[in-house]
C-alpha cells in the first residue's frame, strides 16, 4: 500500500533559478523503510524536507504534488502544524531541548493539547518504543543534555513518536554516533517500521543496505533509480547508480 507519492516534485531555491530537485516521481510504501542515497548536493535531503514542507522554511518554492494517503500536502488547505505532527523528523545531530527527559518527550503532546494526566503514559510508551526507557526510567527529571549522543538521538526519536506520527523522516540520524549507538538505532528502525512509514537519508551505503526495504538513488536533483534495496545494491540497472555505490565517483 502506498503511503507517499510524489508527482513531478521540483524544488527551487534562491530566486527560483537554482533547482534542488527535478520532477521527481516516486511511490513510497507504508510500513517500509525507504533509504535515500546519493552524493552531497544530490537532492536527497531536499526531497526528504519536501515531504513535511520543511523546505518552505528556507524560502524554497515547490512545484508538483506530494500525496500523503492520496491528499496533496501542498494544496493550500493542509494545516502545516497538523502535517508535521503526522510526519515526524529526526535530524543528523541529536537536538534535545535543554530540559528534562520527561519534558522533552512531553513537549509535543503538550503543544498539541494533551492533558497532563495522559502525559506520563505517552512519555513512557514513547521512550519504550525508542528503546530508551530502561536506561532513563529512574532519571526522567534529569537534563537531557547530560546523556550520551546515542541516548540523545533515541530521545529525539521518542520525542517524534510522542505526537503519534504516521511517517518518520530521518536525516542521517547516525552520522554523529558511534558504531554501537548506530547499531541500536538501526535495530530500532526495523522495529518502528511495523507501525510507521520510515524514510531515511544516509551517506552510509552499508546502513542503507542493512536497514532499508527500498532505496532511491539521487544525482544532481534527479531520481536516477528506485527499487528494492537488494536489487539496487546487487544488480543496479543504471550505470550511474552502479558507479556511485561501487565508489567509482562520489
Amino acid at each position: 500500500m502506498s503511503k507517499i507519492e510524489t508527482i513531478g516534485l521540483s524544488v527551487y531555491y534562491g530566486d527560483g533559478t537554482v533547482c534542488g530537485l527535478k520532477a521527481v516521481n516516486i511511490t513510497i510504501e507504508a510500513n517500509k523503510i525507504t533509504a535515500l542515497i546519493g552524493p552531497s548536493g544530490c537532492g536527497k535531503t531536499t526531497f526528504l524536507r519536501a515531504l513535511n514542507r520543511m523546505n518552505e522554511l528556507k524560502g524554497a518554492q515547490t512545484k508538483g504534488k506530494v500525496l500523503i494517503d492520496g491528499i496533496d500536502i501542498y494544496n493550500g488547505k493542509v494545516d502545516v502544524i497538523q502535517l508535521r505532527k503526522r510526519i515526524g523528523m529526526v535530524f543528523q545531530q541529536p537536538n534535545p531541548f535543554p530540559m528534562s527527559i520527561y519534558d522533552n518527550v512531553a513537549y509535543g503532546p503538550r503543544i498539541h493539547g494533551q492533558r497532563n494526566e495522559n502525559l506520563g503514559t505517552i512519555v513512557e510508551e514513547s521512550l519504550k518504543k525508542a528503546a530508551l526507557w530502561d536506561e532513563v526510567k529512574d532519571r526522567l527529571d534529569e537534563n537531557a543534555l547530560g546523556f550520551s549522543g546515542g541516548q540523545q538521538q533515541r530521545l529525539c526519536i521518542a520525542r517524534a513518536l510522542a505526537v503519534n506520527p504516521e511517517i518518520i523522516l530521518f536525516d542521517e540520524p547516525c552520522s554523529a554516533l558511534d558504531p554501537v549507538s548506530t547499531a541500536r538505532i538501526e535495530e530500532l528502525l526495523t522495529e518502528l517500521k511495523q507501525e510507521y512509514t520510515i524514510v531515511i537519508v544516509t551517506h552510509n551505503m552499508q546502513q542503507a543496505a542493512r536497514v532499508s526495504d527500498c532505496t532511491a538513488f539521487f544525482l544532481m536533483g534527479e531520481l536516477i533509480e528506485y527499487g528494492k534495496t537488494s536489487q539496487i545494491f546487487e544488480r543496479p540497472k543504471d550505470k550511474r547508480t552502479e558507479d556511485y555505490i561501487t565508489g567509482r565517483f562520489g
Binding site: M205, Q206, T246
Partner: protein, 218 residues
C-alpha cells in the same frame, strides 16, 4: 572524479589473478591431453609439478576476496565479481586436479600402445579448450555472447564421451587383455567430460557476474 584508488587497484589485481589461474588451469587441461597424444611422460610429470602453483593461487585469491569483502564493503558488479571469483577458482582448481589425474594415467600408460587410436578424446579436449577460452574472454571483457551455446557444446561432449565408452567397452569384451588400457582411456574420457562440466559452471557464474541473472548451463 574517480575515488577509492586502492580499492579499484585491488579489484583489478583480483581479476587479473583469476584470469591467470584460469589460463594455468586451461593450459594444464591441454597439456594433459598433449602428453597423452604424444606419449610424453615428461610433460605429464611437469604438469603435476606445476599444479602446486594453481593450488597456491587458489588460497591467495581467496585471501584477496576475503580482504575485499571485509575491508571494502563491495557492492553491485564488484560484489558479483568477487562472488564469481570465489566460485570459479574452485572450478579452476578442479580442472587442474582432473588434468593431474589424466597426467598420472599418462605416466602409467605412455610406454604402451593404447587400446584404440585417440580420435574422440582430442575432440573433447578441443571443445573444452574452446569453452575455457570463451569463459576467460568473457570474464575479462564482460561480453557473454560466446557463453550462450555452452549447453549445446556440453551435449556434444557428453555424446562423444558416451561414444568413447561404448567403443572401449566393446574392445574390452573382445579382448580382455586390453581391459587395463581401455579402462584408463575411459577414465581420461570421464575426466575430460568433467572438465567441460566445470566450464559450464564457470560460464554460468560469469553470466551472473555480468548480468546479475543466475543461470545453470550444461
Amino acid at each position: 572524479m574517480k575515488v577509492r584508488k586502492d580499492y579499484l587497484e585491488a579489484l583489478e589485481k583480483l581479476k587479473s589473478d583469476v584470469l591467470r589461474m584460469g589460463e594455468l588451469a586451461k593450459a594444464a587441461a591441454k597439456n594433459a591431453i598433449d602428453a597423452l597424444v604424444n606419449h610424453d611422460k615428461e610433460l605429464a610429470v611437469r604438469l603435476l609439478e606445476e599444479n602446486s602453483v594453481i593450488d597456491r593461487m587458489e588460497f591467495e585469491i581467496e585471501n584477496q576476496c576475503m580482504r575485499l569483502l571485509a575491508l571494502q564493503q563491495p557492492m553491485a558488479i564488484d560484489l558479483r565479481t568477487i562472488e564469481t571469483s570465489l566460485k570459479i577458482i574452485t572450478d579452476f582448481d578442479r580442472i587442474s586436479d582432473l588434468a593431474g589425474d589424466i597426467a598420472e594415467i599418462v605416466i602409467q600408460i605412455a610406454d604402451q600402445p593404447y587400446a584404440k587410436p585417440l580420435i574422440d578424446i582430442p575432440r573433447i579436449s578441443e571443445i573444452s579448450q574452446g569453452m575455457l577460452a570463451d569463459c576467460l574472454e568473457a570474464f575479462a571483457t564482460h561480453r557473454i555472447e560466446k557463453l550462450e551455446d555452452f549447453s549445446a557444446r556440453d551435449d556434444i561432449v557428453d555424446a562423444l564421451f558416451g561414444q568413447i565408452r561404448r567403443e572401449l567397452v566393446a574392445i574390452m569384451i573382445e579382448n580382455p587383455r586390453a581391459i587395463t588400457s581401455a579402462s584408463h582411456l575411459i577414465f581420461i574420457g570421464l575426466h575430460q567430460e568433467r572438465i567441460a562440466d566445470h566450464a559450464c559452471n564457470i560460464a554460468g557464474r560469469i553470466i551472473y557476474m555480468v548480468t546479475g541473472e543466475r543461470r545453470k548451463l550444461g
